[in-house]
């Protein structure tokens, strides 16, 4: 398993004063796109915008609880985003799923992308989260484990299960 070449990583940027508007904004800014992409991957575009805002609201409210020793700010913010996505899916699971299926995160270039999007949409939340973090956001396994708050081996097995599920879902269409 190799890491996606398209990954772009940003190191944690800890503002000395996250209690001010500007300080907090500067602290979140390097990770804002990653948060948006993860929210969009997990819940679709329209729901994802609400999830993104909820995650930022939570981050603002809990900003003093961030502990840099437990991981970089990006992982903490992505974990908040994933948690808000999970809550959003609980609130309206059927609706969220329908939105994801009906509204792929990006306009696919061809039918194979549509199939893949739908297949990913049928993964479990944790599988989808692992796939989103690893393949779409380009996080290394270590950081994916940090966001998901589990062991690296668990991430690897979750990704393996997700790939197996995708193979099964795509089946002959992909071949």
């Amino acid at each position: 398993m190799h890491h996606p070449a398209a990954s772009t990583r940003t190191n944690s940027v800890v503002s000395p004063d996250v209690n001010t508007d500007d300080g907090f904004t500067a602290w979140v800014a390097p990770h804002w796109s990653a948060m948006a992409n993860l929210a969009c991957r997990l819940c679709g575009r329209s729901v994802g915008e609400d999830v993104l805002q909820d995650a930022l609201t939570t981050a603002w409210r809990k900003r003093t609880q961030f502990d840099a020793e437990r991981g970089p700010a990006r992982n903490w913010l992505l974990a908040l985003t994933a948690d808000q996505a999970r809550k959003a899916r609980r609130r309206s699971q059927r609706q969220a799923r329908q939105l994801f299926i009906d509204e792929p995160a990006a306009a696919p270039a061809h039918s194979r992308d549509i199939d893949l999007d739908r297949a990913i949409g049928r993964l479990s939340h944790r599988q989808k989260l692992a796939v989103g973090l690893y393949y779409y956001l380009g996080l290394p396994i270590h950081d994916v484990a940090n966001v998901m708050q589990c062991a690296e081996g668990t991430v690897k097995s979750t990704l393996a299960d997700a790939r197996a599920r995708l193979r099964h879902e795509l089946g002959e269409d992909f071949a």
Partner: protein, 194 residues
């Protein structure tokens, strides 16, 4: 399909997807929204506090109603018809029990209070606890002939106690003993003229 194929497919899709993503919403606007979004939480708490306060204020009359002495719930004064009926009930009870009433008095209260005060607990009668009743106490020398039974003496006593349902003026409970009860604990005692 081998594992590499699916991985390549996902990676390729991820690259295309990432490139096609629109820029996220402006962060500064989102931060302002995040700070503003705390207000509804405060508002909800304020609304909840207001609702609790209103309910508490609304409950005060109810609490006062339940907390006030039982005697306060009685009518200011029984009507002449009620007095006449209670007097008739006292006379009938005296006559049926072989005596003549020397004195009789009545007090308005609830069934539960009456049951506790003059009938020593459960009597087997089951009006609701809050049912308004009259307690009628008659003094004299009485013998309960209807209480006779094989192998037991006929009960006698000096005090007949009746519970009369206020709404129907029908007697629901009867007691015969020797010691009068202090009806003033139940409310304003009204003398009858048996």
């Amino acid at each position: 399909m081998n594992p590499t194929d699916i991985e390549d497919l996902v990676q390729l899709h991820a690259q295309r997807w990432t490139r096609s993503q629109p820029p996220p919403p402006p962060l500064d606007v989102a931060v302002r929204n995040a700070q503003l979004r705390r207000r509804p939480r405060i508002d909800r708490l304020a609304i909840a506090a207001c609702v609790i306060a209103v309910l508490a204020l609304a409950a005060i009359p109810v609490v006062r109603t339940f907390a006030q002495p039982r005697s306060a719930s009685r009518p200011a004064a029984p009507s002449p018809q009620v007095l006449a009926k209670l007097t008739q009930i006292a006379r009938s009870a005296s006559a049926e029990n072989g005596g003549a009433a020397v004195t009789a008095e009545a007090v308005h209260t609830t069934y539960l209070a009456a049951e506790r005060a003059v009938l020593n607990g459960d009597t087997g009668s089951n009006p609701a606890a809050t049912t308004p009743v009259w307690v009628v106490q008659i003094r004299g020398d009485f013998t309960c002939y209807s209480c006779r039974g094989p192998g037991r003496a006929t009960p006698t006593g000096h005090v007949i106690t009746l519970i009369v349902i206020a709404a129907t003026l029908q007697s629901s409970d009867f007691g015969l003993g020797n010691q009068p009860h202090d009806l003033t604990s139940l409310g304003n005692v009204i003398p009858l003229n048996p």
